[in-house]
């Protein structure tokens, strides 16, 4: 609005302002101007100060009072500086002096415009502040929520991993398993994903829920997330997934709804697992299991799994091969044919204290040949750490034991034989001495005495050497059909002369008609002769009785042949009886080799037979040798 009392100025200035792009209103005094102002509300007012009716200062004050936003530029004549300053006091934006220079006017107008714009902006800011705060805080809440959801997703994933880790007993398959976890909002947008998702599928936050899938799952309406929002139920489906590198892989998709307090489905969790990877892991697991099974079966041990009642819950193939195993049967039944648990059972100890235990036992497999086993146990715990099973591994150490026996007996043999040989040498020395000194002294009795000594020693040397040879040599076991009666007569004949020469009687008590028996007659004869000679020695030792007899009998007991050698000699105490068959045990001092009965026992055992000994000190002894008619095994 242009206000001036001079019409010429109103006209000229009006044209200038119109040229500058303004719409111009004019008034010739303050009163008129105020009227137009109130009606039109122009943003900028250009007014002369000196006017009739109402001057410019008065107009300025009134306008500023009514609308402080309106900017007023004052027009002054020369020397009106006081008025100009006064007008600035009343908040005029600027003043221009007459005659009006267009440039200065433009600057003044520009200043007014700027002020108006700034004020508008300021007001805009002020007015918008509230909504801005609302908007920004909503954004913040959303970000916070996303962060929280993202954390929840990662937490869930790691929890699943840990869970799987716990379940698999430390196997870390789940860690390797590509499981893509994402969270979706009802607009079917991804709002959070786990790290693996981001790595393999790209950061899809803010993208559509179905984007990563192909087929049906890759459509807006039928993707699992949409289904979950629709039905409110978790989904499980298969689809193919597109990796960031454009490869496709089959996945299994699981979804689950997350509900808010009013039970509405607010978010959906989606977990996709790459099946190729799962398949690979399954295959790997299967192979591992197979390897374990193979190991379980092929390991050169008897492996079994037992419960607290010592029932066999699982056994490996070797166990099944060598024992009559029925799952659920009792360990002690299968292993040892016992009716009750063994004392010192290592399995029982392991159940008790949870540690591994070792033990050595003799068990009887199907073959009937007893074997020594070294047993080792280990506890197997359930998820609560309770021992529910014990694994038992038994290693057949029969051969080791035999070897050990052989080695230790070899050592024993060497020391024992060296002792025996020393005695024999001394004996020969003695015989030679007697013969020599007898010859020198021309004492035939002494010569004979010496010669007898030499002969005795030679006998003993022969026996020792033969026994050693038998023991040392791996003799092949050659059973053949042997007529029992003939055999018995034969044995008796070969010892009779020696027995009779010693003044002891030998009675034969042979049942006729035993028929034939499968045996290695050569070695059995050796065993029987050994026992018969022992009987003779027992008779000679005994000085209490006047006459001594040895009874050699043969009987048939069902499908077995029983040889018995009975004497009324010196007899044995219990300790002697029990250590009879031990290698190098001898009750005869230097005269025995300690090999005879050890060998006899071995021979009989080889035939699947037994030697039973009955004896009382001073009364005599009886040896019952039982041999099956037909060899088994």
């Amino acid at each position: 609005m242009l206000v001036d009392d001079e019409e010429g100025i109103r006209k000229v200035l009006g044209i200038s302002l119109t040229d500058l792009g303004y719409q111009v209103l004019t008034a010739e005094n303050g009163e008129e101007a105020l009227e137009i102002f109130r009606r039109e509300n122009p943003p900028i007012v250009l007014t002369d100060i000196k006017m009739p009716v109402m001057d410019g200062i008065e107009l300025l004050r009134k306008i500023k009072d009514e609308s402080s936003d309106t900017e007023v530029i004052m027009i002054t004549g020369h020397g009106d500086m006081d008025l100009a300053i006064k007008s600035l006091k009343y908040r005029a934006i600027d003043f221009v002096t007459k005659p009006i220079n267009d440039d200065i006017l433009e600057i003044a107008l520009g200043r007014a415009h700027e002020k108006i714009h700034m004020r508008q902006k300021l007001r805009g800011y002020t007015e918008n502040l509230e909504s801005l705060v609302q908007e920004k805080s909503a954004q913040l809440v959303e970000i916070e929520r996303q962060v929280a959801v993202g954390q929840a997703v990662e937490g869930l994933a790691s929890m699943l991993r840990n869970l799987a880790g716990d379940l698999e007993g430390g196997l870390t398959y789940f860690n390797e398993m590509p499981c893509f976890v994402s969270i979706h909002n009802p607009k079917l947008k991804v709002i959070a994903v786990n790290q693996l998702y981001r790595d393999r599928l790209g950061d899809k936050v803010g993208r559509n829920s179905w984007e990563v899938y192909g087929d049906k799952a890759g459509t807006r309406s039928q993707c699992p997330v949409a289904e979950t929002f629709k039905t409110g139920k978790g989904q499980r489906t298969r689809a193919s997934i597109k990796y960031a590198d454009d490869q496709e892989a089959p996945v299994i998709i699981h979804t689950a709804p997350i509900r808010n307090q009013s039970k509405e489905v607010e978010l959906v969790v989606e977990i996709s697992a790459d099946i190729t990877e799962v398949n690979r892991l399954q295959e790997e697991l299967r192979q591992t299991q197979q390897r374990y099974q193979q190991l379980f079966d092929e390991v050169p041990c008897y492996v079994s799994l037992q419960d607290r009642q010592y029932r066999l819950l699982a056994t490996n193939r070797r166990f099944n091969d060598d024992f009559d195993v029925e799952l659920g049967a009792y360990c002690y039944e299968v292993y040892k044919h016992r009716d009750e648990p063994c004392p010192n059972c290592p399995v029982a100890k392991t159940f008790e204290d949870g540690r591994s235990h070792q033990s050595e036992m003799v068990v009887t497999p199907k073959s009937g040949e007893q074997c020594n086993v070294l047993i080792w146990t280990a506890p197997i715990r359930d998820a609560d750490g309770e021992i529910t099973r014990v694994m038992e591994m038994s290693t057949d150490i029969t051969q080791i034991r035999e070897l050990q026996d052989h080695l230790s007996s070899l050592g024993l043999k060497i020391s024992s034989i060296s002792h025996g040989i020393k005695s024999l040498l001394t004996g020969i020395d003695g015989g030679v001495y007697l013969v020599e000194s007898g010859l020198t002294k021309d004492d035939p009795d002494r010569v004979k005495e010496g010669w007898d000594a030499v002969k005795t020693i030679v006998q003993r040397i022969r026996k020792l050497v033969l026994n050693i040879l038998f023991f040392a040599k791996e003799r092949e076991f050659k059973p053949e059909a042997t007529d029992v009666l003939n055999f018995a007569y034969d044995v008796a004949a070969s010892v009779e002369s020696k027995i009779n020469a010693a003044g002891v009687g030998l009675d034969r008590d042979f049942d006729t008609g035993q028929g034939e028996v499968q045996m290695d007659s050569g070695v059995v004869r050796l065993a029987l002769i050994n026992i018969l000679e022992n009987a003779l020695d027992a008779c000679l030792e005994d000085t209490a009785k006047k006459s001594h007899r040895i009874v050699f009998s043969v009987k048939r007991d069902k499908n077995k042949i029983v040889f018995e050698v009975k004497d009324n000699g010196i007899g044995m105490d219990r300790e002697t009886r029990e250590s009879l068959f031990t290698l190098f045990f001898s009750s005869k001092g230097n005269k025995g080799t300690g090999l005879g009965l050890f060998i006899a026992n071995k021979i009989v055992a080889q035939h699947g037979g037994k030697i039973k000994v009955d004896s009382k000190p001073k009364r005599g002894s009886s040896f019952m040798i039982t041999i099956p008619m037909k060899l088994t095994g």
Binding site: S418, H419, G420, K422, S423, L425, T426, G427, I428, D429, G430, G431, Y433, L434, S437, R446, E449, A453, T456, I457, S587, K588, G589, N590, K591
Partner: protein, 116 residues
Amino acid sequence: MPKKILIIDDDPVIVKYLMAIFSDNGYATCSAGSSMEGLDLVKKEKPDLICLDIQMPGEWGPRFYRKLRKDKEVKDIPIIVVSGIDGDHAVKNAVAFVKKPFDPEKLIGIVKNTIG
């Protein structure tokens, strides 16, 4: 009167041998086939020296020795161990240990040094 030697050994051949050696060197002898028998003989015969084997059926030499040492009358009789096993420590205070097979000259030398 010749000095008397008691021979304790379970092997009759060796007993015969030792008896021959000792009697050829002017000693009187007696013998036992076990340590029990030997213990009886020690008391009866009061030998000047005992020739003892270690390994015998029944009681071994060392046990005989311990029993001997408990009897005041006979505990100081010198003992020579003649054995096939290394039993140096089995009989304390033995005059000598002679290992089988032995050199008769050496044995006689020890006997002479001990009882003259």
